[in-house]
């Protein structure tokens, strides 16, 4: 066939590309696709929470008669939707989608490298992720339903199919998918670390790295140290499930039968899981903070306030994130002394987090702020980071956690501080770097509409949940109607669901803008935001190798905005220092 040669270029260019810019776009679009599914699931279970036991056509349309008989959601499917929603959002959107997109796009471009250290491994990382996504989606269609023991899949519930139907084939696929996902993360993370350490262009000292690269660097290290623990954790679970071992099982009587498993501990699983689980929160949050730092400095036309303090707090957060996992387990019966240690280390994290929040606010101070859609999302992100972070102080306090553990207060806290914040930052990143990815501009007005609808409905969904939590309403309840005590929150659940639907519908604006602008958006200039960092010195049309001639040489940090004595209010990193001019934070 004549089209053979053409077809091959399509395959190497769009599918099995080694080019980090293309791989970034692959991660982004896959992440967006998975997020759509995750979001739709949340709308489905929100319908049940607002109108428990009522029939909805949309439920039977998506779930069929088996999982939504007569349009009423089945309790097992309710748990499954919550489980897969959490898994998709935490791992597929906010880990792979966020880090995968922006680490791939920004690391080589911002440090002045032709590509990642290993283009092949980078491609492999994407395809393992794509495979993991496909398997996770397949698990939605197995007869016994997808995994449904909550996104943390605690055994014994997740280990024994007799305990819940979702712990059958669906759970097996969940584990296989996660194993591939972890492999993808590890390969990707190794590549990011090696690239940042070895491939910085001349003059790009570590102290001149943009904060986005610093954040992505520490993120990759966190992933590299913690994801293998999750892998061993789920592999042991696999052994318990399939080969009769007792790592997590002991003294269980289920479905009329005394099981022979003996000597294991379900708490061991929780330790292993949260040894990843807590760094994972920062694997999500640090890239978000990094992107926001870039966008806020650029649009305030002002250096980021306290660059060194920002780097220091990223490192401090990264380190501390490894010694706080026990705060997820205060009520498992752990030794109270150990609980006290975890309370102490957890509350320490509030210090670098506070430093970061203050630095963002003071970057705005006396700035010359241009409110692009990316900047709107970034300011919104600072707000959610503060609102959600502060309630963490309460949950970190073991004595207070006793009564709030596993209530809606927790749901409110983590959705605002890492869900909303990271999603807002990811949107900010897409609006800001879209011209770099696709050579065109996104529509600004749709961007503003998208921002306000997303931001307001985000708060509208999660802020009221604090009150439910303080009233003792547990999370993961199919309905609250069995407890007259919670009747006061019937109308609140309706409000939350309405906001969830508005917020989800608003994403149509984004998707439309994203795909429409790809083909019809106005062409971007080389440096549309008048930014300093290196990615804006590359040509608009992508070329493999990023820079047509020699690699750029770096002479200054990335934050010379509004520097006195300069003609423009920005000075790209490639501009040599004048005589007597000092670089960086002076």
């Amino acid at each position: 066939m004549g089209a053979h040669a053409h077809k091959e270029t399509f395959v190497t260019k769009y599918l099995f590309s080694h080019d980090h810019k293309m791989i970034a776009k692959q991660f982004l679009v896959t992440g967006m696709f998975m997020a759509t599914i995750g979001m739709l699931m949340s709308v489905l279970f929100r319908l049940q929470l607002a109108y428990p036991g009522e029939s909805f056509k949309i439920l039977s349309f998506f779930l069929g008669e088996k999982w939504a008989p007569g349009g009423v959601l089945d309790p097992n499917m309710y748990l499954a939707l919550g489980t897969i929603h959490g898994t998709i959002m935490v791992f597929f959107l906010l880990t792979a989608g966020l880090s995968g997109t922006f680490a791939n796009l920004l690391i080589p471009l911002q440090i002045g490298a032709r590509d990642m250290a290993s283009g092949f491994m980078n491609m492999l990382s994407y395809w393992l992720f794509a495979g993991a996504s496909v398997i996770m989606l397949c698990s939605l269609f197995v007869e016994s339903g997808p995994a449904s023991a909550g996104w943390t899949v605690y055994p014994p519930l997740s280990a024994l199919p007799q305990a819940i139907p979702g712990s059958g084939m669906g759970m097996t696929l969940w584990i296989i998918s996660m194993a591939l996902f972890i492999a993808s993360s590890l390969i990707g993370g190794l590549n990011y670390i090696v690239t940042i350490i070895n491939l910085r262009t001349k003059g790009m000292k570590m102290t001149r790295l943009p904060l986005s690269v610093w954040a992505l660097f520490v993120t990759a290290i966190l992933g590299l140290l913690s994801f293998p623990v999750l892998l061993s954790c789920v592999l042991l679970l696999m052994l318990d499930r399939m080969f009769g071992t007792s790592f997590y099982l002991s003294d269980i009587y289920l479905a009329g039968e005394a099981l022979e498993n003996s000597g294991g501990s379900p708490i061991l699983y929780q330790h292993l899981f949260w040894f990843l689980g807590h760094p994972e929160v920062y694997i999500i949050l640090l890239p978000a903070l990094g992107l926001t730092s870039e966008i806020i400095a650029n649009n305030s036309r002002k250096p980021i306030f306290g660059y060194r303090a920002m780097v220091g707090s990223i490192l401090a957060i990264g380190f501390l994130s490894f010694i706080v996992w026990g705060h997820h387990m205060f009520v498992t019966g752990m030794d109270p002394f150990i609980g006290a240690v975890f309370t102490f280390t957890t509350l320490l994290i509030a210090i670098p987090s506070a430093v970061k929040a203050f630095n963002y606010i003071t970057t705005l101070w006396k700035g010359n702020i241009r409110f692009t859609p990316a900047m709107m999302f970034s300011v919104g992100m600072v707000s959610t980071f503060i609102s959600g972070g502060l309630t963490g102080i309460i949950l970190a306090d073991s004595a207070l956690d006793i009564n709030l553990h596993d209530t809606y207060f927790v749901v409110a806290h983590f959705h605002i501080v890492m869900g909303l914040s990271a999603v807002l930052a990811m949107f900010a990143g897409v609006y800001h770097w879209y011209p770099k990815m696709y050579g065109r501009m996104m529509n600004m007005k749709l961007g503003y509409a998208h921002f306000w609808l997303t931001f307001i409905s985000g708060y509208g969904v999660f802020f009221p949940m604090h009150f439910m939590g303080l009233a003792g309403v547990p999370r993961r309840y199919y309905t609250n109607s069995e407890f007259p005590l919670f009747d006061a929150f019937i109308d609140m659940n309706v409000i939350i669901t309405v906001f969830a639907i508005i917020g989800s519908a608003a994403q149509i604006l984004f998707f439309f803008n994203f795909f429409y602008s790809m083909f019809r958006g106005p062409k971007a200039s080389q440096n549309p935001w008048q930014a300093n960092s290196l990615e804006w010195t590359t040509p608009v049309e992508h070329i493999h190798g990023n820079w047509p001639g020699a690699l750029p040489v770096v002479h200054r940090w990335a934050y010379d905005y509004s520097k006195p004595g300069k003609e423009d209010d920005f000075v790209p990193q490639t501009v040599p220092l004048e005589e007597g001019e000092v670089d960086g934070e002076h």
């Binding site: 748990l79 289920l254 702020i369 309840y477 006061a488």
Partner: protein, 396 residues
Amino acid sequence: MEILFGLLAVLVLVALVQLVRVFEITGKLSGNNQDRIEYKSNRQRAKLWLVFGVAYFAFFIWLGMKYGPALLPEAASEHGATIDTVLNFNWVIIITAFTITHILLFYFASKYYWRPNHRADFITHNNKLELIWTTFPAIVLAVIIIYGLSAWNDITGEAPEDGINIELYSQQFGWTARYAGDDNKLGDANINFINTTNPLGLITPETIKTRQDEIKEEIVKLNEQLPTVPVGGLKEEELTEKIARKERQLAKINGYSRKNKVEMFKTGDDDKLVKVEFHVPVGKPVNFQFRSQDVIHSAYMPHFRAQMNCVPGTTTEFHFTPTITTADMRLKTGNPDFNYILLCNKICGAAHYNMQMDIIVESEEDYNKWLAEQPRFTSVETAEARNQSNEQLAQK
């Protein structure tokens, strides 16, 4: 119906395309003074942050006013009152920090919008300021940590010796409360002893005997089936495996039976099992022990600010002293139907949302009266008869 939805989707798409075109054309028409227009709309966007800020705080206050009364009433336990004090102390700090940072954020965002021919101040850092906002939170957090941990140490300290021992036993999907009886000792239990008459698997001389007989009978029945299945087939393998399992279970139970010769397993005799609701006396410490039959559950008693996971394979503990009777709380809340509740707060399966038990706090007198009405696990007659025969055996 589906066609309508399809049409709606197409319409939305068309509308969006047209909208974007209008934006583009109007943008081009006013192309000459783009700077001025950008200045104006940028300033508007800046001011919108103030509007949002006001709306955000208004939303917060509205929620507080509307749902404040629906929050948990005052703590009904001694340590719960401590928790509430610590919580309120934290709220003061957190809401202050929330308010100050948000006012600054929205104020700066709305004030320092882009102006032509204007430059931002080139401020890279400020050591003094940074030192202040690092040490100040550190000091505040130190107070929070010390205050919180001293409460934590009090709450999780040794259980009082004079406390009433109660076990909360969880299974998919219900609770059983077990009272320790006159000796205030909870009898031993094991999953191999669970049957329809012994849902918690308590070990007493009688249950050992019953289970031995039951399992022996099961083994006999299974062996009878053996000749009916084809030799060397899967069914035979399954059956022999099942028999082997039953034999292993019998061996475990026989182990308990040997221990029994030294007069063990009597503490379970006077235990009392109750369902649906359990009672505790006001003003007396209660030491809870938690167990689970199958998966992890969590015993959550929000009014007492108490929660502990029930983990299969191990027992966990929590103790508290109830301070307000159910009757008093009904008066306080103005709700004649009010009941303290125990609910499950760890995802445990399909009916997780409805795994509950009522808790009645009453005077010690009423409590003793109620408890006396509850049946013992081993009836007095059975226990006495057994003790007598044991004594006779010993005399021989």
